[in-house]
């Protein structure tokens, strides 16, 4: 991992289109400004990881036969 030190208002460039700038530092929180082309998705890592984790949980939970029976019972009224 490349490690760079930056001061307030200083930035780094990734390639010639992505800029990450230090906007503010308050205690343990660093506020970053990110300029990137619209086709580059920018996400907080936790959000991506949270969604990935939930996808894996969803894919492994399935839908057992008992659940299907229960669903039919619950949603019977809405389908008529």
């Amino acid at each position: 991992m490349l490690v760079l030190s930056r001061k307030l208002e200083e930035s780094i460039m990734i390639g010639d289109k992505i800029e990450i700038k230090v906007i503010a530092v308050h205690g343990e929180t660093v506020k970053l400004g990110i300029t990137a082309p619209r086709n580059i998705p920018v996400h907080r890592k936790e959000v991506y990881e949270e969604i990935e984790k939930e996808n894996i949980r969803a894919a492994s939970s399935g839908m057992p036969v008992e659940t299907i029976d229960l669903l039919q019972h619950i949603f019977k009224n809405e389908q008529s």
Partner: protein, 183 residues
Amino acid sequence: MTPPVGVSNANIMEDALKLTVSHLGEIDVAESEILNATVPVPGFPDSHRYFFIERDKIKPFKWLQSADDPNLTFVVVEPHYFFHDYKPKFGAFDLKEIGLGPGEKPVLYAIVVLPEDLTKMTANMRGPLIVNPAGKLFKQVFIETDRWSVRESIIEGIKRKEKAALQDKKKGPQPEHKNAGTT
């Protein structure tokens, strides 16, 4: 040079795919029902093609089945069934990626987890799927707001929806028709 007749015919005829789904066995899927993920669903980098399986018995839910992995099945639902107040905004780039213009609306799906205790069923409202059925494309997008979580309670959503429907009724010009109760 014109292509040999046999070849073009073969392309036209080759429509149904025989696919294995672990919980249903072998099923026929029309080529035209296959949706392509423009980026893989996070957590499943090797699946690119999916299709919906609809069955009366699981309505309003559907299965979103990977055509590349018989063991990969999501339970999904269109959020409006349970969440009347879900109005996420999508970036023009995400829409363009699935072949839609800025004014066009994708079909939304939320991935659902149905635990044994169905009162605890949740929908991932933070990472909805946006689908362009005509273009056969979809992707999972991330909503950058804390308003919706990856485990939004479906029961709570239904309660809010019913409450809102009741309030609309009260406001509305038509008087409420009460069912005659028997005692």
